[in-house]
């Protein structure tokens, strides 16, 4: 716990230096990266550490975003309470999906969560008076203290949230509960023979990761200022999956790489297609193609993602060989880990 807090404080210090010295637009993007880190960390815990794949996390983000937006528009609740409600309501949604999910494995779970991702947004369209229809609902950030610019303030809210979530999840993974999650992933029958309540563990993992997604959805709603169904298509859920895989499934810090990909890829692909004069039609879809390609290539060639690659390189450094060898623990396809980091 202490170690995590120290690392988080160090990270906070670095981020303070970064945000004070970069442009306002870059602050906005850094805040978005932090928001995505929140949802990706939750997804990484669910898929990498607990072994349950989810293609529906975009929908959980929508639940959180709409909850906060509705509270902002209809009540005068404290801002932190509104964010906490996003986590809570999304967690309930995670419960509703997590309970049938205990019976499902791999592809079946993927199919059900895929259906969930497609089924949820149209509900908001069905009742446009409550949910704002195409225009959506607006979200406003509370005023910045002192002379801090609104963009920096928002980035700080998002970075702070991300750091808190990372510290909490890191502690969780280090604890007995973290070992329970991994035990259920690796061998459900052995885990239940050892006295673990497998179903409860799996549902709780879903609830936690859905709560993270809800918070991230609220954060992103603050970034864009508006929440509508168009912001949460199926492609978002798939992009989250791609970002998690690239960052390193099962890792927490690795999710920063994935979040960077999510935020910067649309820009890079636009400039790439401009560079090659590919036309505006193509550039809109180039980012999508690259996400899909990332998924395919990563699965075939580098299933442990960037963080796994970094760990592999770290172990290869002379003099740093520790007793734990082999592929990065916590990723699909790895053998049963003896000791785990993060």
């Amino acid at each position: 716990m202490l170690r995590h807090l120290l690392i988080a404080s160090f990270g906070a210090g670095i981020m303070y230096l970064v945000t004070s010295n970069i442009s306002l637009f870059d602050n906005y993007q850094v805040g978005q990266i932090a928001s995505f880190v929140v949802v990706l960390a939750g997804l990484s815990v669910l898929t990498g550490v607990n072994g349950q794949i989810s293609l529906g996390h975009g929908a959980f983000m929508a639940v959180g975003a709409y909850t906060t937006a509705l509270l902002m528009n209809h009540t005068q609740w404290n801002f932190v309470l509104e964010l906490a409600s996003a986590v809570g309501v999304a967690g309930v949604a995670g419960l509703l999906i997590g309970i049938p999910a205990t019976r499902l494995k791999g592809p079946y779970l993927a199919g059900m969560t895929l259906l969930f991702a497609l089924a949820l947004p149209p509900i908001a369209d069905k009742w446009p008076n409550t949910f704002g229809g195409d225009q959506g609902l607006t979200m406003t950030t509370p005023n910045a203290p002192g002379s801090l610019s609104p963009q920096e303030w928002l980035a700080w809210i998002q970075i702070g949230g991300a750091l808190i979530v990372l510290v909490l999840l890191a502690n969780l993974l280090r604890s007995r509960y973290g070992r329970t999650l991994r035990a259920v992933r690796d061998d459900e029958i052995a885990a239940s023979l050892a006295g673990i309540n497998v179903a409860r563990t799996k549902v709780l993992a879903f609830v936690i990761s859905a709560g993270c997604a809800g918070l991230a959805g609220a954060f992103l709603g603050l970034s864009t200022g508006v929440v509508n169904t168009g912001a949460f298509p199926l492609t978002l859920s798939i992009q989250l999956l791609a970002a998690m895989v690239l960052g390193g499934t099962g890792s927490l810090i690795g999710m920063v790489w994935g979040a960077i990909l999510l935020v910067y890829l649309p820009q890079w692909s636009t400039s790439l297609s401009g560079h090659f004069n590919l036309g505006s039609g193509v550039s809109a879809y180039l980012a999508t193609i690259i996400f899909g390609a990332v998924l395919i290539v990563a699965m075939i060639a580098a299933p442990h993602g960037v963080q796994g690659g970094l760990r592999w390189a770290w172990r290869r450094l002379p003099g740093s060989g520790s007793g734990v060898g082999g592929p990065a623990p916590g990723a699909p396809g790895a053998p049963i880990p003896v000791l785990t980091d993060e």
């Binding site: 898929t47 072994g51 794949i53 293609l55 049938p100 019976r103 499902l104 494995k105 791999g106 592809p107 079946y108 993927a110 199919g111 059900m112 895929l114 259906l115 969930f116 497609l118 089924a119 949820l120 149209p122 509900i123 369209d125 069905k126 029958i189 199926l234 492609t235 798939i238 999956l241 791609a242 895989v245 039609g281 193509v282 809109a284 879809y285 180039l286 980012a287 999508t288 193609i289 996400f291 899909g292 390609a293 990332v294 998924l295 395919i296 699965m299 075939i300 299933p303 699909p332 396809g333």
Partner: protein, 292 residues
């Protein structure tokens, strides 16, 4: 009453399409124990190719047959290039690869063909058939859907039950190592299975296109409905795919009709959850043994 009849007929017509795609999913699952989430998108891609062929003046039926053949080739190539390297590793990896393929296919289709909404012609008239004095909600085209999918299904059943090739395919899926020892070319048969699934997927794509807004994402919902149908029927059984697809089609038609459109995916989700809670192996499967 006539509203109910219309919803039923509509459900049957749509259900047959879901059955076709569900059949593709079942074929692949039987062969390689993978669910190919990209099957719908592959059908979408081949239908876009058909649309291009039609725009170049190729006659409808030639385009139809050609595109089914392209679907076969697509499916076979996918197995060879993307799935073969992943055999034997974790169960999640092929799932993620097929999702990646789904996204890439949608992106490529969008990039090549753009966002402009386009129509796709139907093989037959889409106005309702007349019986006596009344029109029912079942058109010539719906009859064609029914016949086409049934023909496909019967052909697949005959292949599996009555030919040596089918027997070898079933053996490869059921017990790969033993089949290899007995001289069966398992690899080629798995590729063949994916190719056949590609045909079914292309057929589904061609049948859906006239009735929906024809863009890169139009097969997404069809895929999840087909998945629901395949799961209900039991992922190992072609007959189960047919029944499951019909059940899903009917359920969605009723939900859409009585509760309002837009809630259909939610209805499918509830149906899937109920089916998975009540009978996760599906209606038509053998109970599976689990190794402890």
């Amino acid at each position: 009453m006539s509203l109910f009849l219309n919803y039923t007929l509509n459900g049957i017509a749509n259900g047959m399409i879901y059955s076709a795609l569900a059949l593709a999913l079942v074929l692949i699952f039987r062969a390689t124990k993978i669910i190919n989430f990209a099957q719908g998108a592959a059908g979408m891609m081949t239908t876009f190719i058909a649309s291009s062929l039609l725009a170049h003046g190729v006659s409808y039926w030639w385009a139809f047959v050609l595109v089914l053949a392209i679907g076969f080739a697509f499916g076979a190539m996918t197995e060879r290039i993307f799935i073969r390297p992943l055999q034997g590793k974790s169960e999640l990896n092929p799932v993620i690869v097929t999702i990646g393929l789904l996204v890439v296919l949608e992106g490529v289709a969008g990039a090549i063909y753009g966002n402009a909404s386009r129509g796709f012609p139907a093989a037959y008239s889409q106005s309702g058939l007349t019986f006596g004095h009344s029109r029912i909600a079942f058109s010539h085209f719906d009859v064609f859907i029914l016949v086409a999918v049934l023909v496909l299904m019967i052909a697949i059943l005959i292949l599996f039950r009555a030919t040596t090739l089918g027997l070898r395919m079933r053996a490869s899926a059921f017990a790969g190592e033993i089949s290899r020892l007995l001289g069966v070319r398992v690899g080629i048969l798995l590729t063949l299975g994916w190719g056949l699934a590609g045909i079914a997927g292309s057929l589904a794509g061609l049948l859906v296109a006239p009735t929906s807004s024809f863009g890169p994402y139009y097969m997404d919902l069809v895929l999840v409905y087909a998945f629901t149908g395949a799961v209900i029927g039991g992922l190992e059984s072609p007959v189960g795919a047919l029944i499951g697809g019909l059940v899903t089609g009917l359920c969605i038609s009723y939900v859409g009709g009585y509760l309002g459109s837009g809630l259909e995916p939610l209805g499918a989700l509830v149906l899937l959850m109920v089916a998975l809670m009540a009978r996760p192996e599906g209606l038509f499967s053998r109970p599976a043994a689990r190794r402890v």
